[in-house]
Symmetry: C2
């Protein structure tokens, strides 16, 4: 049985919840809240105390992008992770944006503004202002980030853009992103998440 | 002919130089210095004005991790990008660390300290202090980041760790990282780079 250490309000955890739900795989979710993450037991599993942490028997893997790559290679090779070298490169580009600009932009801004974490809000706002127009322009006239179907690029990049309302950013100002968020949420078996706009709301 | 837009002192560009040299592929390198990157022509090629930018005929791709994934899928599939789903996941983990913690840690610290760029040095030092022990512990007792051979994980993660001297960090304090940097530099066709420690120096 797959064990997913995560938390209900973690967008990074939600990337993996979406993947597992879309794949129809059962999983056992273990709450790793701030207190649990400070424990030595958790540090032994993952040195940076990050969530999500994926465990399947003896195999463990941290980092949401990495877990998505694992699940794609196991269950949707050549589909979720790209059919051609060019698609593989483009998917890796969006995994980089998810790991860097989206994590340090909209996700960090949400941590500061919704949860009051001590994060340099100015820097997060600058990074956000840099990445949002790039995503918006890329999605104008296309349904998915890479190719003509859902890939792990969409799973990696979407949660913290869907949750921008928590960071004080109005999704209505970014219509191509909003439509794409709506498209993902309309997929069969999409798991609900607090803060992810409901269909009628966007 | 592959065209690589980059600059001699860019560690991100060097990731791609290493890959192309190890693959034995010819390429034409075009200098994209700070002035060139401000041009409208460059922005039309890559919206965030990042280097390196890879071009091959009509196909262009930004982000050094993405270009490595493309080259691996084209020329070393199942080898440089992982032979099993677990290896693919672990390689993706190191691409995330390269895109986030290494870029915002040691690479940012180098930009601040060597080149005087207006970067929050405290933040870069904090991220550096967080990631270095993780890399050092991971490399203790192993030759390569993933599996028993060079992969794009090593190509993505190594340049800004090799260049830490530019950021005022002594590689001698990180012996497993130092040995791994030396191992990469000893590979046939390794391209030299200013600031990368020569064999005798480390």
């Amino acid at each position: 049985m797959i064990i997913l250490h995560g938390s209900p309000l973690s967008g990074n955890t939600h990337k993996i919840r979406m993947a597992l739900a879309f794949l129809g795989l059962p999983w056992d979710e273990r709450l790793a809240d701030a207190a649990a993450r400070q424990s030595d037991a958790f540090a032994a599993l993952t040195p940076m105390r990050q969530i999500p942490l994926f465990a399947d028997g003896d195999f463990t893997l941290r980092d949401s992008q990495a877990i998505l790559a694992l699940l794609a290679a196991r269950h949707r090779p050549g589909d979720w992770d790209g059919d051609t070298p060019e698609e593989r490169g483009e998917i890796a580009l969006w995994l980089s944006h998810a790991a860097n600009e989206i994590a340090n932009g909209p996700a960090a801004l949400r941590l500061a503004r919704k949860f009051g974490l001590p994060i340099a809000e100015d820097h997060a706002a600058t990074v956000t202002a840099r990445i949002l127009p790039v995503v918006e322009a890329h999605l104008a006239g296309r349904d998915w980030l890479v190719g003509d179907r859902l890939t792990i690029a969409d799973l990696a990049a979407s949660p913290y853009l869907a949750l921008m309302g928590d960071a004080g950013i109005d999704l209505a100002d970014w219509p191509a992103i909003r439509d794409w968020i709506r498209r993902i949420a309309a997929l069969p078996d999409f798991p609900a998440m607090p803060g992810w706009p409901a269909e009628g709301a966007i």
